[in-house]
């Protein structure tokens, strides 16, 4: 047997690809696996300190999912999260595009420092902003409505989208826009018909990030919305399933599993765009 035949393609893949990647896959998927396993365990097994926490030994139960559906307003919270996240994402990406284009393309005094300032805005933590924002939300009469979240989420999403899209727009050659302008396009038409179709991966990447940030947001949702039927999933699950010193672990994990699905689906569908959007400009 020659060395070449022993080092066949499957073996080579195993040692150079699958085995090196395995620890990372395990690290990334373990929390999801643990959530899933816990959500199907019976309470008796959950409390049993002698039971192996990584496997289900005493039978499966759908009780936690049933409790979530029947005893809480979980699906309303889920829908609220979806509405708020989609709306905030659309608004933020649109504003981000309109802000990123001039900052990336036009030469005007202070353009660079303005770009940096936008990024710094993104770094201001929401825990500092929620108190002054609560005054603004109240003055606008938006307290206890989903609009409060749709309006406030862009405060951290727009700077992020703008910053990300600025970087992406700069990787698109200016020349193709100049050609369009020579053919009679104005700035807006150039943006719409030339730049955006080329920058789809960057826009999708920004939208995915914005959606994920909105979906996971907790603080503004807690502060600006109180009625049970208007809560988002992050706050609703926490409010209902952590009662003082009693944690409903099965229900919490069931909620977390269902809550992960939209993000998983979104990333699975747009993974290629997402990666190319993130790595654009990395190699010239």
């Amino acid at each position: 047997m020659t060395r070449r035949s022993w080092w066949s393609r499957p073996t080579r893949s195993l040692f150079t690809l699958y085995l090196p990647v395995a620890p990372f896959v395990f690290f990334a998927l373990f929390p999801l696996y643990f959530m899933l396993v816990t959500s199907f365990k019976k309470n008796a097994e959950l409390y049993n300190v002698n039971a192996t926490p990584f496997f289900i030994r005493q039978g499966l139960t759908l009780g936690h999912y049933e409790m979530l559906s029947k005893d809480t307003m979980f699906w309303s919270w889920f829908a609220n999260s979806l509405i708020v996240s989609i709306a905030a994402t659309v608004v933020s990406v649109l504003i981000g595009i309109l802000a990123a284009y001039p900052l990336a393309r036009l030469r005007f005094p202070g353009a660079d420092s303005f770009g940096v300032a936008i990024f710094i805005t993104y770094l201001v933590p929401p825990s500092l902003l929620f108190l002054p924002l609560s005054t603004v939300v109240n003055r606008l009469g938006l307290s206890d409505t989903l609009w409060a979240l749709i309006v406030t989420y862009p405060t951290f999403l727009v700077p992020f989208c703008t910053w990300l899209l600025m970087g992406y727009f700069r990787t698109v050659p200016k020349e193709i826009e100049e050609c369009a302008m020579l053919d009679g396009c104005n700035r807006f038409q150039t943006l719409l018909r030339i730049l955006l179709p080329v920058a789809v991966p960057g826009v999708i990447c920004a939208a995915l990030f914005a959606f994920t940030l909105s979906w996971n947001e907790f603080l503004y949702s807690l502060v600006f919305v109180s009625p049970a039927e208007l809560k988002t999933m992050t706050v609703g699950v926490f409010s209902e399933l952590i009662r003082g010193d009693i944690y409903y672990w099965g229900g919490l994990m069931a909620g977390a599993c269902i809550g992960s699905l939209p993000i998983v689906v979104a990333y699975v569908f747009f993974l290629d765009y997402y990666v190319s959007g993130l790595t654009a400009g990395a190699v010239k």
Partner: protein, 434 residues
């Protein structure tokens, strides 16, 4: 044709006028009363409160809205409502009476409601404790008394009965640990750790603040004795995991069949009963072998504390009179009785007659709860509750002090000196109050 500048002027002006005018004008004025409370440890309590709130709303033709959040979220929610000077009319406050001092200028005086409620319910248990700067800025609402929850089968196995003192529990913990069932009390950043450590301090005659409410009293011979005891309890009767425990951990330890005893309200027992948790390796329900006995006494005293959950009315509330009216309704003896019943006694009001509620005789496991309530005092005892005394608890200075010594990271003098300095800064106002 509107040009760009005109468009900007009109839209910016419109937005500014909305902000300056104080929001969108209401198109229809309906009477609505809103109430923010915390998710009760026993869910049926919330259902009964909601029923009473809706019943009162229907009688008075008032639209009502009860919003429930996790107790850990209350601090954030209170801060944002006070900042915006808008939010709910009624609000849960706590844990602890410190909110009354902290939000003194934002809460309505409830002297009239407190005076109306008391006679119908046999009076407030310790009214002087609840007065903040001489006023009723909140009504003490409910507390979960802190007995000792113990596994009777294990007690029998190690040949112990009728434990009553902290020394008894140390001995039981040692024997329990030897057979794989240690004693369990949190020594980390949790409310339970504050409660149990204060109980031990008082039982040795120590306290962290003097009767004047201003002098830090932690540096004493009695504190040193309490710390020596806790060190023995930690090293001889408990597992090191208690340093990382939160409020749920001791419940889990008892219900998992590991801990022989925990210092905790009846919530662990209630959840074990509800979930039909069994003793590992058997088919026997663990709730059958859990008993509750009085909070332990020490060489000097028998005292404990707990979460003092209160209710108040913001002075920026739209319907102060309606809010007071609902409080009077909720504090009627029959409504209080139904509410306590729904909570299986976990939510004991601070009203003398309610400490004798039949629920405490309905189950032998509850027999000591009224006794525990009698020796329950606010955490700042013997001093009055202030924002500073509350901050000492919120920063978990006591658990840190005990843990530093118990784990050998500091000597007893170093740990006390550290805690004393922290507390002096708080009481001197050098540390920002929230």
């Amino acid at each position: 044709m509107v040009n760009r500048r005109q468009f900007l002027r009109v839209t910016a002006g419109g937005a500014a006028s909305v902000v300056v005018a104080g929001g969108v004008p209401a198109t229809a004025q309906t009477r609505e009363l809103t109430f923010l409370t915390i998710a009760s440890f026993v869910p049926e309590t919330d259902k009964e409160l909601k029923r009473q709130f809706e019943e009162w709303g229907a009688k008075n033709k008032v639209k009502v809205r009860l919003d429930i959040i996790a107790h850990l979220q209350l601090v954030t929610k209170k801060a944002s409502e006070v900042q915006a000077r808008s939010g709910h009319d009624l609000t849960a406050l706590g844990p602890g009476l410190g909110d009354a001092d902290l939000y003194f200028d934002h809460l309505v005086d409830l002297n009239d409601v407190a005076a109306d409620v008391a006679p119908k319910n046999g009076g407030w248990m310790n009214p002087n404790d609840y007065l903040i700067r001489g006023k009723w800025k909140l009504l003490p609402w409910w507390m979960p008394p802190f007995p000792m929850a113990v596994r009777t089968d294990l007690l029998e196995q190690i040949g112990e009965k009728n434990p009553d003192t902290w020394e008894d529990w140390l001995r039981i913990g040692k024997k329990g640990k030897a057979i794989g069932h240690p004693f369990g009390t949190a020594l980390g950043h949790s409310g339970d750790a504050n409660v149990t450590l204060l109980s031990i301090m008082w039982s040795y005659g120590a306290s962290y603040v003097a009767k004047d409410g201003k002098t830090v009293a932690i540096n004493s011979k009695e504190t040193r004795q309490a710390m020596e005891f806790v060190k023995r309890l930690y090293t001889e009767a408990m597992d090191p995991e208690v340093l990382a425990w939160d409020d749920a951990s001791n419940n889990r330890c008892l219900n998992a069949g590991k801990c022989i005893a925990i210092h905790n309200p009846i919530s662990a027992f209630e959840s074990a009963k509800r979930d039909k948790v069994v003793i590992p390796g058997t088919q026997r329900e663990i709730a059958e072998v859990i008993d509750h006995v009085n909070t332990p006494r020490g060489p000097v005293d028998r005292k404990t504390t707990t979460g003092y959950w209160c209710v108040g009315i913001w002075n920026f509330a739209k319907n102060v009179d309606l809010a007071k009216d609902f409080l009077r309704y909720h504090f009627q003896p029959e409504n209080q009785a139904k509410w306590v019943d729904a909570g299986h006694g976990f939510n004991m009001p601070f009203l003398t007659n309610l400490t004798k509620h039949p629920v405490y005789k309905s189950d032998k496991q509850y027999r000591f709860i009224p006794e525990v309530a009698k020796v329950t005092v606010p955490p700042s005892w013997p001093g009055p509750t202030t924002a500073s005394s509350q901050q000492v608890l919120d920063l978990y200075i006591l658990p840190d002090m005990f843990a530093q010594y118990a784990t050998g990271k500091m000597t007893v003098d170093q740990a006390i000196a550290w805690a004393e300095k922290e507390m002096q800064e708080i009481f001197a106002g050098r540390k920002r109050k929230f």
